[in-house]
Structures are given as structure tokens and as C-alpha cells.
């Protein structure tokens, strides 16, 4: 029989106490929001924020939040932006990484350094002048303009693909070339299907950052009809200033889709995080 050390029992108890405490701290701010989102305005004004609502069947706040902030439109546009930007950055990133990793040509090192240096420049810093360029190209207040600028500021997926190509043996390319495959064929038929793990990683990282992106959306999509989900949520600052039962409903609405996706793809999300450690 194994001897049970008193020390390891204490260690175990302490371990769970710390973990439960941390989990509570992590979810309490959100839980209180859920409670508040189900309260009527009168209830909200009279009860303590920690009190439970009379019923969890009161959806009026959600309805108001959904309609007043036009969140449906916000979801729709964020969805379109997500699909287009993710698809584009996967192709852009993988094609660039393929060329930089597989071919030696003058300027290869220079290009890699240019991308590396670009990753040092904080996004918000250059927006002052990017705004001017967007303006002169007529890309402001167009959904496609916003998408293009999001694709253009994507260094993370390029890194992920570059790292991944390092691990794909060159012999794959060589044997395909011997069999009469073109370079395009090598990329699209042989290598691209093998990139799946890297694609998942870049989708997770890029997906989170696009869904949560606020600054550029606010800057380049200024008309209310083009609001994405984060700018739609931001409209609550004005008219509802302190009506937190509406605001909380809005917050919960934006959290639900990403919560569902997270619970379904937990494993991929954690894997993606680990792979993107550099830019975490």
C-alpha cells in the first residue's frame, strides 16, 4: 500500500482551493452580467446587483438590446468579414510562406526582415497615416475596405505558416516535380492539404482578433449601417449610459456565439493558442 503523506493531502486541498477561487474570479463578473440582463428596469433599480432576477424568462432586455443596437446587422457583417478575411489571410500567408521557405531568390531575406520589422510596429500607431491612405483610396465606409485593411495588417498567420513549412520535408516537393507537377500544383495539390494544423491555428488566432476588433472598425466604418458587432455594442455608451440591464443583455449577446464556438472547438483553440505564443 502507498503511504499517504500529510503534506500531499494539504497540497491537494490547497490546489483545489486556489483553482476554484481563480475560476470564480474569472466568471463572477460575467455571471453578474447574466443576472442583471434578466432584470426588469424596476427590478434593476430596486434590487442589489447580486440578487437573482425574479425570472430567467424575461427576455425583453435582450430584445431591446438586439433591436436598438442593430446587433443582427452587426453579427451579419462581422460574419462576412470573418469568412473573407480568414480565407484571404490563409491563402496570402501560406503562399507567401511557401515562396519564402522553398525558393532562394534575391530579396528573400530582405522580404522576411521587412515582415519581421512590421510586426514590431504596434497597429494603432500607424493608423494615423493609414487613415489618410484609406481615405485617398476611397476605402473608408466600405465593408471591403475594412476587410482589405485587416488582411494587410496580418503578420501572425505569415509567421505560423513559415514555421510550419520548415517542418514539411522538401522531398515532398521534389518527388512531385519529378512526376511532372508544376510549382503551382505542388503548392495547391501536395502542400496545401498538409497545412491543416497551421490553418486551424491561424484561424483561431485571427478569428479571435477579427471578432474582437474595434479600433479599425470604428475608424473605417463610421456610418451606423456598417457597424460590426463590437462597434454595435459600443453604441450602448450613449443613450443607455447607466441602464446596465440593457447593456448587460448586449454584452451577453456578443459573448454567446464565441462561447458556443469555444466549447465546440476547445481543443483546437488551446492548440492554436500554444502555436501563437509569440504574439500572445
Amino acid at each position: 500500500m502507498k503511504k499517504v503523506h500529510i503534506g500531499s493531502v494539504i497540497f491537494s486541498i490547497a490546489k483545489y482551493v486556489f483553482l476554484i477561487a481563480a475560476a470564480f474570479v474569472a466568471i463572477i463578473p460575467v455571471c453578474v452580467c447574466i443576472l442583471t440582463a434578466f432584470k426588469t428596469t424596476e427590478e434593476y433599480n430596486t434590487t442589489s446587483v447580486l440578487d437573482f432576477p425574479q425570472s430567467f424568462g424575461y427576455f425583453e432586455n435582450f430584445k431591446i438590446a438586439f433591436e436598438k443596437a442593430n446587433m443582427l446587422g452587426g453579427f451579419l457583417r462581422t460574419g462576412i468579414v470573418l469568412i473573407v478575411v480568414l480565407a484571404a489571410s490563409i491563402f496570402i500567408g501560406s503562399m507567401l510562406a511557401y515562396v519564402l521557405n522553398r525558393f532562394k531568390f534575391p530579396g528573400n531575406g530582405l522580404i522576411q526582415n521587412l515582415f519581421m520589422f512590421a510586426s514590431l510596429i504596434p497597429g494603432i500607431a500607424t493608423q494615423v497615416t493609414v487613415y489618410q491612405i484609406m481615405y485617398s483610396l476611397g476605402l473608408i465606409n466600405h465593408l471591403y475596405g475594412y476587410m482589405i485593411v485587416l488582411m494587410g495588417t496580418d503578420i501572425i498567420s505569415i509567421y505560423i505558416f513559415l514555421q510550419f513549412f520548415e517542418n514539411l520535408p522538401v522531398s515532398l516537393d521534389e518527388s512531385a516535380i519529378m512526376d511532372g507537377c508544376t510549382y503551382f500544383g505542388v503548392f495547391f495539390k501536395i502542400l496545401f492539404p498538409l497545412l491543416k494544423p497551421a490553418i486551424v491555428t491561424s484561424m483561431v488566432l485571427k478569428g479571435v482578433s477579427v471578432y474582437n476588433e474595434y479600433y479599425m472598425s470604428n475608424l473605417y466604418l463610421q456610418v451606423p449601417e456598417l457597424r460590426t458587432i463590437s462597434t454595435a455594442l459600443y453604441t450602448f455608451t450613449g443613450p443607455y449610459g447607466n441602464q446596465y440591464n440593457y447593456i448587460c443583455a448586449g454584452v451577453i449577446i456578443t459573448i454567446i456565439p464565441i462561447l458556443v464556438l469555444f466549447l465546440v472547438f476547445q481543443k483546437q483553440v488551446y492548440g492554436g493558442m500554444a502555436a501563437g505564443a509569440v504574439k500572445g
Binding site: K15, Y16, A22, A23, A26, P29, V30, V32, T36, V49, L50, I92, G93, V99, R102, F103, M116, A118, L120, I121, P122, I124, A125, T126, V128, T129, Y131, Q132, M151, T153, Q163, E166, N167, V170, E174, I177, Y183, F184, P197, A198, V208, N212, Y214, I229, F236, I247, C248, G250, V251, L259, F262, L263, Q266, Y270, M273, A274, A275, A277, V278, G280
Partner: protein, 340 residues
Amino acid sequence: MNENEAYVRPKKKRSFSEWFKSGDGQRATVIIVFLFIPLLLLLLFTYIPFLKMVQFSFYDMKYIGGKTFVGLKNYIEVFQRSDCFKSLFVSVYYMLGAIVQLALALFFASLMVFGVQGSGVFKAAMFFPYLICGIAVGFIFKFFYARGFVLDSLLQMIGMNIENIPMWLQDQKINNISLAATSVWRYTGQNMILFLGAMMSVDSELYEAASLDGANRWHQFLYIILPSIKSIVVLNIILSISGSLSAFEPPYVITNGTMGTGTYFVIMNRLAHENQKVGLACAMAIVLLVIIILCTIAQKLFFAYAFDDGTDDESKAAVRKRKKAAKVALKAQQGGGSTV
């Protein structure tokens, strides 16, 4: 590939279509086609704006209208204006917050690495804040910190008097701490997942061997786990410096930079888009960029001297044995460490 080229090369004069179909031609085509869009985007949204930024920083100008050359006046102003330069000190709060966050993440990751019942639930609960968008986090904490609301009610519940509770967002002594704490709340779980991933890459045989040799958990932590994650921890500490300097969302959403909570970017954003002092904002951006470049050089030097003992490669070798996805994930991590 090289053999292929060598085979084609001896043919002397070829027409364009012949060259195009040959290996060399294809190579050139694929390089040009695949590079065109990424390079165009890079120039358009990074380097042209960057060069313009350098240029504008020497001018007094607005978005629309004329500009006058003022030399270094903008730069001098960055260091003299009380709102610009002082805001760099606000970053110190975020830096300390980042240290706390890394320490907590390391602590919880080490608790989890020894196996925990229901670790999936703990992981998910702690990681989830990372996925909530910055604006939502802002609202959640505006509500959380408001007088008489969530935090105050919780503190009253454990017996504190409301008069003794500070105003979390108005009191200038602590409001930056309150704001930095929201970042800690948001990113601790994510950092924990990173560290846990690195710790898990250690060969499990090492633990078995160690416990056979009578090593207790503390020893296992000290001699097996810590060395395996040394580089990623140091990397994150250094990254947190540039991250703290560019802190933006918490003060922007929660307090809008009022009451002494304006970080560098909040002030820069205000100068650029509200006051239209484009030249000054550009000078601010350049100053910050210089600081970040200096930090990066320091990081490179640090990595070159501090990690010259091969620990990185050892853990890499261990990773290789793992399944492919995990391998790729960690390669990116460690490889990235030496490139960024």
C-alpha cells in the same frame, strides 16, 4: 529542385514561352504571383504609412489642409507636454499588471500540470475571458467597478463598510490599478494555457524517472518544469513590456482616458483623431516605436547570451516525439522566440 534546374539550364536560347514552361520560368512566375499581394498589402498598410509617419512628424498639420515644416518641434513637444510623456508612466501600472498576470499564469499552470480532477472546467473558466471582446470587457468592468455595484456589493457582503471602499475608477491613486486588473483578468487564463502547453511538452518519462529517484513535486517543478518553460516565460516578460506601452482598450472603453488614466495610445488617439494634431501624433508614434525597437534589441541580446546552453534544443527534441499538431505548435513558439 536544384537538379531540375541544372537539367534545364544548358539549353541556350529559348523563346519566352519555352522559358515560361521550363522550371526556371515556372519558378519565377510562382514567386512573382505569390508575392505580389502580400507585398502590396505590406507596402500599402505598413511601410508607406510608416514613411509618411516619419515625414509628418516634422510638420504641423491636420488631416486636410496645408502643412508647415517645424523641424523637431513635435518631438520636443512630446517630451514637454504633460499629457504625452507622463502617459508613459501610466504604462508602468500595466507592466506590473503583466508581471502579476505572468506569475499567476505560471502558478496555475504548475498546479494543473500535476493532474487535476475537472481540469477541463478550470481551464475553460479561466481561459474564457480572453475570448470576450475588448468593448464587452469594458462594459463588464464599468459595471463591476461602479459605485455600489458588483465589487462594492461583494465587499459589503464580506463585511466591509461602503465608506471604506475607494472609488475604483475615480480615485486617482488606484484607478490605474483597477484598469490594469481588467487586463490581468482577461489574459491570465490565456497565458496559463501557453505555459501549460510548454510544460506538457516535457517527456513524461522524465517525471517518472524523477519520482523513482525520490524527487518531490517541488523538485520536479524546479528541475524539470521550470527549465522547460524558461525561454517562453522570459519571452513573455519582454513582450509584456511592449504590450504595456501600447495598452489601449481598458482605459479607452472604461474611463475614456479621464482622471489620469490616459495611456500613451489613448492620448495619441485623442491628439490624432479629435484634436487633429497629426504631426504631434506621428512624433509620438515614432518615439514609442524607438522604445519598442530598443526593447527588442535588448531581448535579442538577452536571448543570445542567456540561452546559450542548449535547453531549448533539448525540449525541442522531446517535442518531436509528440504528435504532429503539438509539435508544430511548439516549434512555432520556440522558433518564434528567436525571430521576434
